[in-house]
Amino acid sequence: MAGKKKKKPKTKLLIIGSKKYKKSTVKMLLEEGRKKFDSVVFAPVHKIRIIEEKGESKLYYKEKNLKNFDIVYPRLSSLDFFMAEPILQILSKSKAYCPVSLKGFQVSNNKYLTIKSLTGKNVPITLTSLSISPKVVKQTVESFGFPVVLKLISGFAGKGVMLVNREQELQAILDTVHLFEHVVSAQKFIESKGTDLRCYVTGNKVITVERKSAGDDFRANISRGGSAKQIKTSPELEKIALTVSKSLNMDICAVDFIKTSETKEGFIVIEINFVPGPFRKFLGNKIVKDWINFLHSKIETA
Protein backbone atom coordinates (compact mmCIF):
# COMPACT_ATOMS: atom_id res chain seq x y z
CA MET A 1 0.00 0.00 0.00
CA ALA A 2 1.37 3.41 -0.93
CA GLY A 3 2.37 5.63 2.04
CA LYS A 4 0.51 8.82 2.86
CA LYS A 5 1.55 11.50 0.36
CA LYS A 6 3.51 14.28 2.10
CA LYS A 7 1.73 17.61 1.77
CA LYS A 8 3.79 20.16 -0.15
CA PRO A 9 4.40 23.29 1.97
CA LYS A 10 2.82 26.50 0.69
CA THR A 11 5.21 28.87 -1.01
CA LYS A 12 5.15 32.44 0.27
CA LEU A 13 6.52 35.57 -1.38
CA LEU A 14 6.78 38.97 0.31
CA ILE A 15 7.38 42.13 -1.68
CA ILE A 16 8.42 45.17 0.34
CA GLY A 17 7.74 48.40 -1.54
CA SER A 18 9.12 51.90 -1.18
CA LYS A 19 6.90 54.48 0.51
CA LYS A 20 6.66 56.05 -2.96
CA TYR A 21 6.08 52.75 -4.77
CA LYS A 22 4.85 52.67 -8.35
CA LYS A 23 1.40 51.08 -8.46
CA SER A 24 1.78 49.65 -11.98
CA THR A 25 5.02 47.82 -11.03
CA VAL A 26 3.49 46.42 -7.84
CA LYS A 27 0.43 45.27 -9.80
CA MET A 28 2.64 43.37 -12.26
CA LEU A 29 4.70 41.82 -9.45
CA LEU A 30 1.55 40.66 -7.67
CA GLU A 31 0.01 39.27 -10.88
CA GLU A 32 3.12 37.35 -11.94
CA GLY A 33 3.89 36.38 -8.33
CA ARG A 34 0.46 34.78 -7.87
CA LYS A 35 1.04 32.58 -10.91
CA LYS A 36 4.07 30.97 -9.22
CA PHE A 37 3.60 31.32 -5.45
CA ASP A 38 0.74 30.08 -3.25
CA SER A 39 0.70 33.36 -1.39
CA VAL A 40 2.01 36.82 -2.26
CA VAL A 41 1.93 39.76 0.14
CA PHE A 42 2.84 43.35 -0.60
CA ALA A 43 3.98 45.50 2.34
CA PRO A 44 4.83 49.19 1.87
CA VAL A 45 7.94 49.84 3.95
CA HIS A 46 6.45 52.70 6.00
CA LYS A 47 3.66 50.43 7.24
CA ILE A 48 6.11 47.87 8.70
CA ARG A 49 6.96 47.71 12.42
CA ILE A 50 10.40 46.65 13.60
CA ILE A 51 10.42 45.28 17.13
CA GLU A 52 13.76 44.95 18.93
CA GLU A 53 13.55 42.99 22.17
CA LYS A 54 15.75 40.58 24.13
CA GLY A 55 18.16 39.75 21.31
CA GLU A 56 15.39 39.16 18.76
CA SER A 57 14.31 41.41 15.90
CA LYS A 58 10.78 41.03 14.58
CA LEU A 59 9.17 42.48 11.47
CA TYR A 60 5.42 42.96 11.27
CA TYR A 61 3.04 44.30 8.64
CA LYS A 62 -0.41 44.65 10.18
CA GLU A 63 -0.46 41.40 12.22
CA LYS A 64 1.64 39.39 9.73
CA ASN A 65 5.05 38.16 10.88
CA LEU A 66 7.28 39.04 7.92
CA LYS A 67 9.97 36.57 8.94
CA ASN A 68 7.66 33.69 8.00
CA PHE A 69 8.10 34.11 4.25
CA ASP A 70 10.29 31.91 2.02
CA ILE A 71 11.30 34.72 -0.30
CA VAL A 72 11.44 38.46 0.37
CA TYR A 73 12.06 40.99 -2.38
CA PRO A 74 12.61 44.51 -0.99
CA ARG A 75 12.21 47.28 -3.60
CA LEU A 76 13.42 50.29 -1.65
CA SER A 77 14.76 53.69 -2.59
CA SER A 78 16.89 56.39 -0.97
CA LEU A 79 13.65 57.87 0.42
CA ASP A 80 13.32 54.81 2.64
CA PHE A 81 16.75 54.86 4.32
CA PHE A 82 15.48 54.98 7.90
CA MET A 83 13.34 51.84 7.63
CA ALA A 84 15.23 50.13 4.80
CA GLU A 85 18.60 49.73 6.53
CA PRO A 86 17.43 47.82 9.64
CA ILE A 87 14.96 45.76 7.57
CA LEU A 88 17.69 44.69 5.13
CA GLN A 89 19.98 43.86 8.05
CA ILE A 90 17.29 41.72 9.70
CA LEU A 91 16.52 39.93 6.41
CA SER A 92 20.20 39.15 5.88
CA LYS A 93 20.13 37.17 9.14
CA SER A 94 16.76 35.49 8.54
CA LYS A 95 16.01 32.15 6.87
CA ALA A 96 14.22 33.83 3.97
CA TYR A 97 16.00 34.27 0.66
CA CYS A 98 16.51 37.94 -0.23
CA PRO A 99 17.99 38.89 -3.63
CA VAL A 100 19.41 42.24 -2.46
CA SER A 101 21.75 43.31 0.36
CA LEU A 102 22.22 46.13 2.86
CA LYS A 103 25.66 46.79 1.35
CA GLY A 104 24.10 47.00 -2.11
CA PHE A 105 21.50 49.47 -0.82
CA GLN A 106 24.10 51.72 0.85
CA VAL A 107 26.59 51.63 -2.02
CA SER A 108 24.06 52.09 -4.84
CA ASN A 109 22.54 55.09 -3.03
CA ASN A 110 25.91 56.85 -2.76
CA LYS A 111 27.00 57.78 -6.28
CA TYR A 112 30.66 58.12 -5.34
CA LEU A 113 30.76 54.93 -3.27
CA THR A 114 29.28 53.11 -6.29
CA ILE A 115 32.26 54.09 -8.46
CA LYS A 116 34.76 53.57 -5.63
CA SER A 117 33.45 50.05 -4.99
CA LEU A 118 34.38 49.14 -8.58
CA THR A 119 38.03 50.30 -8.60
CA GLY A 120 40.60 47.54 -8.96
CA LYS A 121 37.97 45.07 -10.28
CA ASN A 122 38.83 45.60 -13.95
CA VAL A 123 35.50 47.37 -14.45
CA PRO A 124 35.53 50.37 -16.81
CA ILE A 125 34.62 53.54 -14.88
CA THR A 126 35.38 57.22 -15.32
CA LEU A 127 37.55 59.44 -13.11
CA THR A 128 35.36 60.48 -10.16
CA SER A 129 36.00 62.62 -7.08
CA LEU A 130 34.25 63.37 -3.82
CA SER A 131 34.62 66.60 -1.81
CA ILE A 132 32.79 68.64 0.80
CA SER A 133 34.19 72.08 0.00
CA PRO A 134 33.25 74.10 -3.10
CA LYS A 135 36.86 75.32 -3.31
CA VAL A 136 38.18 71.76 -3.59
CA VAL A 137 35.42 70.80 -6.06
CA LYS A 138 36.53 73.74 -8.22
CA GLN A 139 40.17 72.65 -8.12
CA THR A 140 39.21 69.08 -9.03
CA VAL A 141 37.01 70.21 -11.91
CA GLU A 142 39.81 72.39 -13.26
CA SER A 143 42.12 69.36 -13.25
CA PHE A 144 39.47 67.25 -15.08
CA GLY A 145 38.69 69.99 -17.63
CA PHE A 146 35.21 71.05 -18.86
CA PRO A 147 32.59 69.75 -19.43
CA VAL A 148 32.16 67.89 -16.15
CA VAL A 149 29.25 66.10 -14.47
CA LEU A 150 28.44 67.13 -10.89
CA LYS A 151 26.40 64.78 -8.73
CA LEU A 152 24.89 65.56 -5.36
CA ILE A 153 25.41 62.54 -3.19
CA SER A 154 21.88 62.70 -1.81
CA GLY A 155 20.54 62.87 -5.39
CA PHE A 156 18.26 60.18 -6.81
CA ALA A 157 16.93 59.24 -10.29
CA GLY A 158 19.09 61.75 -12.12
CA LYS A 159 17.63 64.79 -10.32
CA GLY A 160 20.89 65.64 -8.56
CA VAL A 161 23.01 65.33 -11.72
CA MET A 162 24.25 68.44 -13.54
CA LEU A 163 26.32 68.86 -16.67
CA VAL A 164 28.65 71.86 -16.29
CA ASN A 165 30.14 73.33 -19.45
CA ARG A 166 31.90 76.47 -18.24
CA GLU A 167 33.58 77.95 -15.18
CA GLN A 168 30.83 80.57 -14.74
CA GLU A 169 28.19 77.82 -14.55
CA LEU A 170 30.30 75.93 -12.07
CA GLN A 171 30.54 78.88 -9.71
CA ALA A 172 26.77 79.46 -9.73
CA ILE A 173 26.13 75.77 -8.99
CA LEU A 174 28.73 75.60 -6.24
CA ASP A 175 27.22 78.63 -4.52
CA THR A 176 23.85 76.82 -4.37
CA VAL A 177 25.37 73.53 -3.35
CA HIS A 178 27.31 75.20 -0.52
CA LEU A 179 24.11 76.78 0.71
CA PHE A 180 22.53 73.36 1.22
CA GLU A 181 25.74 71.71 2.52
CA HIS A 182 25.83 68.86 0.05
CA VAL A 183 28.64 66.40 -0.50
CA VAL A 184 29.57 66.72 -4.18
CA SER A 185 30.93 64.16 -6.59
CA ALA A 186 32.56 65.44 -9.78
CA GLN A 187 32.92 63.12 -12.75
CA LYS A 188 34.90 63.49 -15.94
CA PHE A 189 32.30 63.88 -18.70
CA ILE A 190 32.07 61.05 -21.20
CA GLU A 191 30.24 61.85 -24.43
CA SER A 192 27.33 59.44 -24.83
CA LYS A 193 25.06 61.31 -27.24
CA GLY A 194 22.15 60.72 -24.89
CA THR A 195 22.27 56.91 -25.26
CA ASP A 196 22.97 54.51 -22.45
CA LEU A 197 22.67 50.82 -21.74
CA ARG A 198 20.85 49.27 -18.85
CA CYS A 199 21.73 45.70 -17.93
CA TYR A 200 19.08 43.94 -15.88
CA VAL A 201 20.84 41.35 -13.77
CA THR A 202 18.65 38.53 -12.48
CA GLY A 203 20.84 35.83 -10.96
CA ASN A 204 23.27 34.98 -13.76
CA LYS A 205 20.98 36.22 -16.52
CA VAL A 206 21.58 39.62 -18.11
CA ILE A 207 19.09 41.47 -20.32
CA THR A 208 20.29 44.65 -22.00
CA VAL A 209 18.16 47.63 -22.88
CA GLU A 210 19.36 50.59 -24.92
CA ARG A 211 17.89 53.89 -23.73
CA LYS A 212 17.78 57.19 -25.55
CA SER A 213 17.22 60.53 -23.89
CA ALA A 214 14.37 62.88 -24.72
CA GLY A 215 15.51 65.87 -26.81
CA ASP A 216 18.83 67.37 -25.74
CA ASP A 217 18.91 65.95 -22.20
CA PHE A 218 22.31 64.34 -21.61
CA ARG A 219 20.66 61.92 -19.16
CA ALA A 220 18.89 58.92 -20.69
CA ASN A 221 16.59 58.25 -17.72
CA ILE A 222 13.23 56.88 -18.84
CA SER A 223 11.65 58.68 -15.88
CA ARG A 224 12.69 61.88 -17.70
CA GLY A 225 10.87 60.97 -20.92
CA GLY A 226 13.38 58.91 -22.94
CA SER A 227 12.77 55.71 -24.99
CA ALA A 228 14.11 52.15 -24.75
CA LYS A 229 14.53 48.85 -26.67
CA GLN A 230 16.03 45.48 -25.85
CA ILE A 231 19.33 44.63 -27.59
CA LYS A 232 21.60 41.57 -27.58
CA THR A 233 23.94 41.44 -24.57
CA SER A 234 27.60 41.24 -25.58
CA PRO A 235 29.82 38.81 -23.59
CA GLU A 236 31.93 41.77 -22.29
CA LEU A 237 28.87 43.62 -21.06
CA GLU A 238 27.50 40.47 -19.41
CA LYS A 239 30.80 39.78 -17.65
CA ILE A 240 31.06 43.31 -16.26
CA ALA A 241 27.38 43.47 -15.19
CA LEU A 242 27.74 40.20 -13.28
CA THR A 243 31.03 41.32 -11.68
CA VAL A 244 29.32 44.48 -10.46
CA SER A 245 26.21 42.74 -9.08
CA LYS A 246 28.20 40.00 -7.36
CA SER A 247 30.57 42.51 -5.74
CA LEU A 248 27.55 43.96 -3.92
CA ASN A 249 25.85 40.61 -3.16
CA MET A 250 22.93 41.55 -5.39
CA ASP A 251 21.07 38.86 -7.35
CA ILE A 252 18.57 41.38 -8.71
CA CYS A 253 19.65 44.86 -9.78
CA ALA A 254 20.37 46.92 -12.89
CA VAL A 255 23.77 48.21 -13.96
CA ASP A 256 23.78 51.34 -16.13
CA PHE A 257 26.48 51.95 -18.74
CA ILE A 258 27.22 54.61 -21.32
CA LYS A 259 28.89 53.84 -24.62
CA THR A 260 32.24 55.51 -25.23
CA SER A 261 35.32 55.15 -27.38
CA GLU A 262 37.51 56.08 -24.38
CA THR A 263 37.75 52.54 -22.96
CA LYS A 264 38.82 49.29 -24.64
CA GLU A 265 35.43 47.73 -23.81
CA GLY A 266 33.56 50.58 -25.52
CA PHE A 267 31.49 51.43 -22.43
CA ILE A 268 31.76 52.53 -18.79
CA VAL A 269 29.64 51.79 -15.71
CA ILE A 270 27.87 54.88 -14.41
CA GLU A 271 25.38 53.64 -11.85
CA ILE A 272 23.98 50.63 -10.03
CA ASN A 273 20.23 50.60 -9.58
CA PHE A 274 18.93 48.88 -6.45
CA VAL A 275 15.30 49.19 -7.49
CA PRO A 276 15.13 49.20 -11.29
CA GLY A 277 11.83 49.92 -12.99
CA PRO A 278 10.67 47.14 -15.36
CA PHE A 279 10.24 49.42 -18.44
CA ARG A 280 6.64 48.21 -18.83
CA LYS A 281 5.99 50.64 -21.68
CA PHE A 282 8.76 49.13 -23.80
CA LEU A 283 9.22 45.59 -22.47
CA GLY A 284 5.79 44.64 -21.12
CA ASN A 285 6.05 42.16 -18.23
CA LYS A 286 9.25 40.46 -19.48
CA ILE A 287 11.52 41.75 -16.68
CA VAL A 288 8.97 41.17 -13.93
CA LYS A 289 8.47 37.57 -15.16
CA ASP A 290 12.22 37.00 -14.98
CA TRP A 291 12.36 38.33 -11.42
CA ILE A 292 9.46 36.15 -10.27
CA ASN A 293 10.80 33.00 -11.98
CA PHE A 294 14.20 33.59 -10.43
CA LEU A 295 12.75 34.21 -6.96
CA HIS A 296 10.65 31.05 -7.27
CA SER A 297 13.75 29.05 -8.21
CA LYS A 298 15.25 30.06 -4.86
CA ILE A 299 12.50 28.41 -2.80
CA GLU A 300 14.58 25.31 -2.18
CA THR A 301 17.58 27.28 -0.95
CA ALA A 302 15.43 29.43 1.37
Binding site: S57, F82, M83, L130, I132
Partner: protein, 279 residues
Protein backbone atom coordinates in the same frame (compact mmCIF):
# COMPACT_ATOMS: atom_id res chain seq x y z
CA UNK B 1 55.11 57.02 13.49
CA UNK B 2 53.13 59.56 11.45
CA UNK B 3 49.68 60.49 12.66
CA UNK B 4 47.16 62.70 10.90
CA UNK B 5 44.56 64.64 12.87
CA UNK B 6 41.67 65.02 10.47
CA UNK B 7 38.92 67.42 11.54
CA UNK B 8 36.42 70.00 10.31
CA UNK B 9 37.17 72.78 12.78
CA UNK B 10 40.21 73.72 14.79
CA UNK B 11 39.21 73.49 18.46
CA UNK B 12 40.87 73.46 21.87
CA UNK B 13 40.28 69.69 21.98
CA UNK B 14 42.24 69.18 18.80
CA UNK B 15 45.13 71.34 20.04
CA UNK B 16 45.32 69.41 23.35
CA UNK B 17 45.07 66.10 21.51
CA UNK B 18 47.92 67.08 19.23
CA UNK B 19 50.10 67.91 22.26
CA UNK B 20 49.34 64.52 23.85
CA UNK B 21 50.16 62.62 20.66
CA UNK B 22 53.42 64.57 20.32
CA UNK B 23 54.32 63.83 23.95
CA UNK B 24 54.00 60.13 23.06
CA UNK B 25 56.47 60.65 20.20
CA UNK B 26 54.04 60.75 17.26
CA UNK B 27 54.89 62.97 14.34
CA UNK B 28 51.54 64.81 14.06
CA UNK B 29 50.11 66.58 11.05
CA UNK B 30 46.68 68.20 10.97
CA UNK B 31 44.29 68.61 8.06
CA UNK B 32 40.87 70.14 7.61
CA UNK B 33 38.52 67.54 6.04
CA UNK B 34 37.26 70.27 3.70
CA UNK B 35 40.69 70.38 2.05
CA UNK B 36 40.58 66.71 1.19
CA UNK B 37 39.18 65.04 -1.88
CA UNK B 38 38.80 61.38 -2.75
CA UNK B 39 39.64 60.37 -6.29
CA UNK B 40 38.75 57.05 -7.92
CA UNK B 41 39.67 55.68 -11.32
CA UNK B 42 39.63 52.20 -12.82
CA UNK B 43 42.76 51.09 -10.99
CA UNK B 44 42.72 52.77 -7.60
CA UNK B 45 41.30 55.29 -5.15
CA UNK B 46 43.49 58.05 -3.81
CA UNK B 47 43.27 60.69 -1.11
CA UNK B 48 44.19 64.05 -2.60
CA UNK B 49 45.67 66.96 -0.72
CA UNK B 50 48.71 68.90 -1.81
CA UNK B 51 50.29 69.05 1.67
CA UNK B 52 49.95 65.46 2.86
CA UNK B 53 51.60 62.33 1.51
CA UNK B 54 49.14 59.66 2.61
CA UNK B 55 51.55 56.84 1.81
CA UNK B 56 53.58 57.97 4.82
CA UNK B 57 50.63 58.18 7.24
CA UNK B 58 50.34 55.29 9.72
CA UNK B 59 47.32 56.41 11.68
CA UNK B 60 44.47 58.89 11.55
CA UNK B 61 42.49 60.45 14.36
CA UNK B 62 39.19 61.55 12.85
CA UNK B 63 36.73 64.13 14.17
CA UNK B 64 33.78 64.52 11.81
CA UNK B 65 30.05 65.08 12.30
CA UNK B 66 27.67 62.22 11.48
CA UNK B 67 25.88 64.49 8.99
CA UNK B 68 28.68 64.05 6.47
CA UNK B 69 28.54 60.25 6.60
CA UNK B 70 28.39 60.04 2.79
CA UNK B 71 31.89 61.54 2.74
CA UNK B 72 33.23 59.74 5.82
CA UNK B 73 32.18 56.21 4.83
CA UNK B 74 34.29 56.04 1.62
CA UNK B 75 37.11 57.65 3.60
CA UNK B 76 36.97 54.90 6.26
CA UNK B 77 36.99 52.32 3.45
CA UNK B 78 40.16 53.87 2.04
CA UNK B 79 41.89 53.89 5.45
CA UNK B 80 41.15 50.19 5.77
CA UNK B 81 42.42 49.44 2.26
CA UNK B 82 45.61 51.44 2.84
CA UNK B 83 46.10 49.85 6.29
CA UNK B 84 45.98 53.26 7.97
CA UNK B 85 44.65 52.81 11.50
CA UNK B 86 41.61 54.94 12.35
CA UNK B 87 39.57 54.77 15.56
CA UNK B 88 36.42 54.24 13.47
CA UNK B 89 35.77 51.26 11.19
CA UNK B 90 33.90 51.19 7.84
CA UNK B 91 30.10 51.23 8.28
CA UNK B 92 30.34 52.82 11.72
CA UNK B 93 29.09 56.20 10.48
CA UNK B 94 26.25 54.68 8.48
CA UNK B 95 25.33 52.60 11.51
CA UNK B 96 25.25 55.55 13.91
CA UNK B 97 23.44 57.90 11.52
CA UNK B 98 20.35 55.70 11.68
CA UNK B 99 19.12 55.08 15.23
CA UNK B 100 16.86 52.20 14.10
CA UNK B 101 19.84 50.48 12.43
CA UNK B 102 22.01 51.01 15.50
CA UNK B 103 19.43 49.48 17.86
CA UNK B 104 19.12 46.55 15.49
CA UNK B 105 22.90 46.00 15.41
CA UNK B 106 23.12 46.21 19.21
CA UNK B 107 20.17 43.87 19.76
CA UNK B 108 21.35 41.28 17.22
CA UNK B 109 24.78 41.24 18.87
CA UNK B 110 23.38 40.47 22.30
CA UNK B 111 23.79 43.95 23.80
CA UNK B 112 21.12 44.70 26.39
CA UNK B 113 18.64 47.35 25.21
CA UNK B 114 15.15 48.34 26.35
CA UNK B 115 12.32 47.28 24.03
CA UNK B 116 12.36 49.44 20.90
CA UNK B 117 9.71 49.63 18.17
CA UNK B 118 10.44 51.46 14.91
CA UNK B 119 7.61 52.86 12.79
CA UNK B 120 7.58 54.38 9.32
CA UNK B 121 4.55 56.64 9.58
CA UNK B 122 2.10 58.36 11.89
CA UNK B 123 -0.95 56.15 11.12
CA UNK B 124 0.89 52.95 12.06
CA UNK B 125 1.94 54.49 15.38
CA UNK B 126 -1.65 55.55 16.10
CA UNK B 127 -2.97 52.04 15.61
CA UNK B 128 -0.40 50.53 18.00
CA UNK B 129 -0.41 52.93 20.95
CA UNK B 130 -1.95 50.30 23.23
CA UNK B 131 0.96 47.91 22.74
CA UNK B 132 3.41 49.76 25.03
CA UNK B 133 4.09 49.90 28.73
CA UNK B 134 4.25 53.59 29.58
CA UNK B 135 6.19 55.85 29.90
CA UNK B 136 7.99 55.60 26.56
CA UNK B 137 10.52 57.81 24.84
CA UNK B 138 9.30 58.96 21.42
CA UNK B 139 11.83 60.13 18.81
CA UNK B 140 10.91 61.12 15.26
CA UNK B 141 13.33 61.59 12.37
CA UNK B 142 13.08 63.67 9.23
CA UNK B 143 15.62 64.01 6.40
CA UNK B 144 17.96 61.72 8.35
CA UNK B 145 17.98 64.08 11.38
CA UNK B 146 16.24 63.76 14.73
CA UNK B 147 13.29 66.15 14.74
CA UNK B 148 11.51 65.47 18.07
CA UNK B 149 12.20 63.71 21.40
CA UNK B 150 9.34 63.47 23.90
CA UNK B 151 8.82 61.45 27.07
CA UNK B 152 5.26 60.12 26.71
CA UNK B 153 3.21 59.06 29.74
CA UNK B 154 0.15 57.43 28.18
CA UNK B 155 -1.36 55.83 25.06
CA UNK B 156 -3.63 58.84 24.69
CA UNK B 157 -0.67 61.23 24.65
CA UNK B 158 1.21 59.09 22.15
CA UNK B 159 -1.82 59.02 19.88
CA UNK B 160 -2.15 62.81 19.96
CA UNK B 161 1.62 63.24 19.32
CA UNK B 162 1.42 60.86 16.34
CA UNK B 163 -1.64 62.72 15.04
CA UNK B 164 0.17 66.05 15.31
CA UNK B 165 3.00 64.97 12.96
CA UNK B 166 2.55 67.38 10.06
CA UNK B 167 5.45 66.54 7.79
CA UNK B 168 6.40 63.29 6.15
CA UNK B 169 8.76 61.70 8.61
CA UNK B 170 11.50 59.16 7.81
CA UNK B 171 10.24 57.25 10.80
CA UNK B 172 10.01 57.16 14.57
CA UNK B 173 11.62 55.10 17.30
CA UNK B 174 9.60 54.39 20.45
CA UNK B 175 11.65 53.01 23.34
CA UNK B 176 10.36 51.79 26.67
CA UNK B 177 11.61 54.30 29.21
CA UNK B 178 13.93 52.97 31.89
CA UNK B 179 13.60 55.12 34.99
CA UNK B 180 16.66 56.24 36.89
CA UNK B 181 19.98 57.95 36.23
CA UNK B 182 21.73 57.95 32.86
CA UNK B 183 25.38 56.94 32.56
CA UNK B 184 27.58 58.48 29.89
CA UNK B 185 30.56 56.20 29.29
CA UNK B 186 33.69 57.45 27.55
CA UNK B 187 35.08 54.28 25.98
CA UNK B 188 38.74 54.33 24.92
CA UNK B 189 39.67 50.83 23.76
CA UNK B 190 38.84 48.70 26.79
CA UNK B 191 39.00 51.57 29.29
CA UNK B 192 35.75 53.11 30.43
CA UNK B 193 35.19 56.40 32.29
CA UNK B 194 31.65 57.05 33.45
CA UNK B 195 29.65 60.10 34.50
CA UNK B 196 26.27 59.47 36.10
CA UNK B 197 23.55 62.04 35.47
CA UNK B 198 20.41 62.25 37.59
CA UNK B 199 17.05 62.19 35.81
CA UNK B 200 15.29 65.52 36.37
CA UNK B 201 11.73 64.68 35.39
CA UNK B 202 11.90 65.44 31.65
CA UNK B 203 15.59 65.06 30.90
CA UNK B 204 18.86 64.13 32.58
CA UNK B 205 21.01 66.79 34.26
CA UNK B 206 23.85 68.28 32.20
CA UNK B 207 26.98 66.18 31.78
CA UNK B 208 29.05 68.83 33.55
CA UNK B 209 26.77 68.53 36.63
CA UNK B 210 27.03 64.72 36.73
CA UNK B 211 29.17 62.63 39.05
CA UNK B 212 32.08 60.34 38.16
CA UNK B 213 31.22 56.72 39.03
CA UNK B 214 32.67 53.25 38.56
CA UNK B 215 30.59 50.76 36.61
CA UNK B 216 30.15 47.11 37.52
CA UNK B 217 32.27 44.64 35.52
CA UNK B 218 29.22 43.59 33.47
CA UNK B 219 28.21 47.16 32.67
CA UNK B 220 31.77 48.02 31.69
CA UNK B 221 31.90 45.00 29.37
CA UNK B 222 28.55 46.04 27.89
CA UNK B 223 29.85 49.57 27.16
CA UNK B 224 33.03 48.28 25.49
CA UNK B 225 31.14 45.67 23.44
CA UNK B 226 28.51 48.22 22.37
CA UNK B 227 31.24 50.55 21.07
CA UNK B 228 32.91 47.68 19.21
CA UNK B 229 29.65 46.42 17.67
CA UNK B 230 29.11 49.92 16.31
CA UNK B 231 32.65 49.98 14.87
CA UNK B 232 34.19 52.49 17.32
CA UNK B 233 37.38 52.12 19.34
CA UNK B 234 36.67 55.52 20.91
CA UNK B 235 33.04 56.31 21.65
CA UNK B 236 30.43 57.57 24.06
CA UNK B 237 28.02 54.86 25.16
CA UNK B 238 24.87 55.88 27.03
CA UNK B 239 23.47 53.45 29.59
CA UNK B 240 20.30 53.42 31.63
CA UNK B 241 20.09 50.63 34.24
CA UNK B 242 22.50 48.52 32.19
CA UNK B 243 20.58 49.05 28.92
CA UNK B 244 22.42 50.75 26.07
CA UNK B 245 20.42 53.67 24.73
CA UNK B 246 22.90 55.29 22.35
CA UNK B 247 26.42 54.93 20.93
CA UNK B 248 28.10 57.82 19.17
CA UNK B 249 31.62 58.49 17.89
CA UNK B 250 34.03 60.49 20.05
CA UNK B 251 33.98 61.58 23.66
CA UNK B 252 33.55 64.84 25.60
CA UNK B 253 37.25 65.31 26.30
CA UNK B 254 37.13 68.39 28.48
CA UNK B 255 34.26 67.30 30.76
CA UNK B 256 35.58 63.77 31.28
CA UNK B 257 39.12 65.07 31.92
CA UNK B 258 37.82 67.58 34.47
CA UNK B 259 35.57 65.07 36.26
CA UNK B 260 38.03 62.17 36.33
CA UNK B 261 41.25 64.10 36.95
CA UNK B 262 42.80 61.98 34.16
CA UNK B 263 43.64 63.59 30.85
CA UNK B 264 41.44 61.97 28.19
CA UNK B 265 43.87 63.40 25.62
CA UNK B 266 46.71 61.40 27.18
CA UNK B 267 44.48 58.33 27.47
CA UNK B 268 43.68 58.47 23.74
CA UNK B 269 47.34 59.04 22.79
CA UNK B 270 48.30 56.11 25.03
CA UNK B 271 45.64 53.92 23.41
CA UNK B 272 46.92 54.78 19.91
CA UNK B 273 50.49 54.10 21.01
CA UNK B 274 49.57 50.63 22.31
CA UNK B 275 47.30 49.85 19.36
CA UNK B 276 50.10 50.62 16.92
CA UNK B 277 52.79 48.95 19.07
CA UNK B 278 54.59 52.24 19.12
CA UNK B 279 57.11 52.96 21.87
Amino acid sequence: MNLLLLRVEKTRTQIELQKSFEKKGFNVKTLNLKKLSLLSDRKKTELKNGDINFDKINAVYLRAPLQINSFVEPLLDIFKEKKIYCQYKPNSYYNSSNEALQFNALNLNGIKIAKVVTFGDSNTIQSHVNKFEYPVLFKSFRKQQKSQTILVESARSLKSIAKSIRFNIDGAVIREFVEGPVEDCAVIGDKVFTIRRKWLGDEPQKLSKGKLVKLSKTEKETAVKAAQVCGFDIATVKLAQGNVSKVRPGISYLTFSKKSGDSMFDEVADFYSKKLNFK
